[in-house]
């Protein structure tokens, strides 16, 4: 059993042990100072209902009850450690939220912890989020998170042979979708240029581009190239209109 103040059965990684105490306190306080925190955590009976109904608990070493208890005990060491890998097991289904007799929202706490982990660009978070480059590129530049051309068969071999079949003459099959803006291949539906320009403004003003730059500078550069290109297109097309 690792030594730390409270955590009874969760081991602490060597990396976490090396981090200065003040830094761990700072990160945990960042979570606790989020305006949602007070709406997500009340008392806790330790009844375990959340964990018993948690899908991630069935297949991972993961327990929403632990998270709630650690916050109530202010177990900084364990909480800081959880923010590197543990929290990413959560499926964000919010079964815990509907079932908790206290109205706690452990899944919501996980959402805040994840956001803080991303904002602080932890090395573990960077590694963990690497495979999502394609999704991020899509959502940041087009305003759609998914599109037909993203489901490449080699990325989803466990979905069976139909994947390859779908990709054959994909464009014609997309055109056979019976409403006009749903016929696109690179986006789920056609997003208008003026709409995507508004989304770029939102990303800028809310610090999401910065968040991404810290996390993955290469991806950030690619995204900004597309953003700037679209902004130029917009200016040329609608110059003098507004």
């Amino acid at each position: 059993m690792d030594e730390h103040n409270y955590g009874y059965n969760l081991s602490i990684s060597e990396k976490t042990k090396m981090v200065p105490w003040e830094e761990k306190v700072r990160v945990v306080e960042e979570v606790k100072s989020d305006f949602r925190f007070k709406e997500y955590l009340f008392g806790c009976l330790n009844c375990g209902v959340c964990t018993a109904s948690c899908p991630s608990n069935k297949f991972f070493d993961f327990s929403p009850r632990e998270i709630v208890q650690r916050f109530l005990e202010n177990d900084v060491e364990v909480l800081y450690d959880m923010m590197h890998e543990y929290i990413w097991a959560c499926s964000q289904c919010f079964t815990c939220w509907i079932r908790c007799p206290f109205g706690n929202n452990p899944g919501g706490l996980v959402a805040i912890m994840r956001e803080v982990a991303v904002r602080n660009a932890f090395e573990a978070t960077k590694e963990l989020l690497k495979p999502y480059g394609r999704v991020l590129l899509k959502v940041m530049t087009t305003g759609n998170q998914l599109s037909a051309d993203m489901l490449q068969p080699d990325l989803f071999p466990d979905w069976g042979p139909k994947m390859a079949d779908i990709m054959e003459d994909l464009k014609a099959k997309r055109l056979a979708i019976p409403f006009d803006i749903g016929k696109s291949v690179k986006t789920a539906w056609e997003v208008s240029l003026e709409t995507i320009i508004e989304l770029y403004t939102i990303w800028r003003e809310t610090g999401i581009f910065e968040m991404l730059e810290k996390l993955d500078p290469n991806l950030y550069n690619v995204i900004m190239d597309i953003v700037e290109e679209n902004e130029e297109r917009y200016q040329k097309l609608y110059e003098g209109e507004e």
């Binding site: 289904c93 919010f94 959402a111 979905w159 014609a172 019976p178 789920a188 991404l212 209109e241």
Partner: protein, 454 residues
């Protein structure tokens, strides 16, 4: 049931405050007059103070009242709807939105399906944590403002968007700091009212709630047109999978009904299946999520398929042998449909049809299984279901769709766009290019659209 009859049955009085209850709770309710419900009063107060403008569900939207689990009356607008599409649906389950449009056409309803909408971007947030409440709220409010500006009422297709928007609205109403953070950005975008207010819809409405509210009209259509095509769903065994983000997130804001387990389980989807006369079968893990998990479907796939197979597909096959699993969300449909094949590798293959309520209902009412319901994209074992429903000519219907794809492909490759546009005039459910709300020339966020410029 006629609208007037519903009004008298449900004790719904309009106009008036937006927080309403019937005189008697219609079933044993969870916490009548619940905490969450009071955000509707807070919305009225914020409107009176001039901070927000409520996009109200007026008579032109032809609302139908439903109950929530607290006994609150939630109005579901049924006409003049602005389609807030789902990226997962349009990208990978295109028959999902197509079936919604098909019903709206059948009922002669007015709607707007335009390109001036972004995804909610909440999948990104729940999966990867890359965003924050201010960004999520501003994106939501931008989309809502666009709907309000057009005069159409937003109908949210995706369960993820619906759950996220319900939560954001609660946060926004309860937290002045969040309102203060989004306001300057909305102002910059021109997305406040002329007198500087934030536009917030009276109700956040999921398409499954629309299907639920419209179930008797859907039933009528089935009786008239589906049965005329010899379609019969009375022997079809249906297992329901409700989506976590529709009824577990902001749980007090989703329909419950005395007809469905006496109001003790979410009513949408189950009620329409019952109205159609199919057999709803109960199974022990009805409460479990599908295993989608946002990031898990992409990179923790062992978890996703384990959950889908062991907690849903296997249980449903062994306990009730359903002919179809009915869903009402994008992620669940994808997960339960696409996690079947790999079961063969583990000796756990439980083939079953999987589709959302609206696609099943459209099939029952006689919609073309491939041109409209777009079953081509469906990975589940749906053919035996079609046979059982009496759609025994599905092979010919599939051939018709394949021929259409071939024809489109030939015209597109030959650059015959005028002919293609003519073809779409007949083929498409929504008149192309005509109806968008801005006068700007058409231009898109990606290089391969407009349609034929690749």
């Amino acid at each position: 049931m006629a609208h007037a009859e519903l009004e008298s049955k449900w004790g719904y009085v309009s106009p008036g405050g937006i927080l309403r209850y019937p005189e008697e709770p219609p079933f044993p309710v969870k916490e009548y007059d619940a905490h969450y419900d009071h955000i509707f009063e807070m919305m009225e107060e914020l409107e009176a103070k001039g901070e927000i403008l409520i996009h109200r569900i007026t008579e032109e939207y032809q609302p139908i009242p439903v109950y929530t689990r607290t006994g609150r009356i939630k109005l579901i607008p049924t006409n003049k709807l602005w389609h807030h599409k789902s990226c997962g649906q349009c990208g990978n389950i295109p028959g999902y939105p197509a079936s919604i449009f098909w019903f709206m056409n059948k009922f002669g309803l007015d709607y707007l399906n335009e390109p001036h909408q972004t995804s909610c971007t909440a999948w990104n947030y729940y999966g990867f944590g890359i965003s924050n409440p201010v960004a999520l709220a501003t994106i939501w409010l931008r989309n809502m403002h666009q709907a309000w500006k057009t005069g159409y009422y937003p109908l949210i297709h995706c369960g993820t968007s619906f759950g996220s928007y319900k939560e954001i609205r609660r946060q926004l109403i309860m937290n002045k700091e969040l309102r203060d953070a989004v306001k300057p950005i909305l102002k910059k975008l021109g997305r406040l009212t002329e007198d500087g207010r934030i536009v917030i819809p009276q109700e956040i409405v999921h398409y499954s709630e629309w299907v639920h509210a419209m179930r008797y009209r859907i039933k009528e259509l089935y009786e008239k047109e589906g049965k005329a095509k010899k379609i019969d769903v009375s022997n079809v065994k249906v297992a329901i999978h409700n989506a976590s983000h529709t009824y577990k997130m902001i749980a007090d804001d989703y329909p419950y009904d005395p007809e469905v387990y006496n109001g003790q389980r979410p009513a949408a989807s189950t009620a329409v299946i019952k109205a159609l006369g199919a057999q709803v079968v109960d199974y022990s893990t009805w409460y479990d999520c599908c295993g989608f998990g946002f990031r898990h479907i992409l990179t923790e796939r062992e978890f996703t398929r384990s959950m889908a197979i062991q907690r849903k597909l296997k249980v449903i096959a062994e306990e009730v042998k359903a002919d179809v699993i009915i869903t009402h969300d994008t992620g669940c449909t994808t997960t339960l449909e696409k996690s079947q094949w790999i079961g063969k590798a583990h000796g756990m293959y439980y083939p079953v049809a999987v589709m959302p309520d609206v696609m099943f209902a459209a099939l029952a009412c006689g919609a073309h299984p491939f041109k409209v319901v777009q079953l081509y994209w469906n990975f589940s074992h749906y053919e035996p279901l079609l046979e059982k429903m009496g759609i025994t000519n599905w092979r010919e219907l599939k051939k018709e769709w394949e021929d259409a794809v071939k024809y489109i492909s030939e015209l597109e490759k030959a650059g015959k766009y005028d002919e293609l546009m003519e073809f779409f005039k007949e083929y498409d459910l929504y008149e192309p290019y005509s109806k968008t709300s801005t006068g700007k020339p058409r231009a898109s966020a990606t290089a391969d659209i407009p349609l034929f410029e690749s």
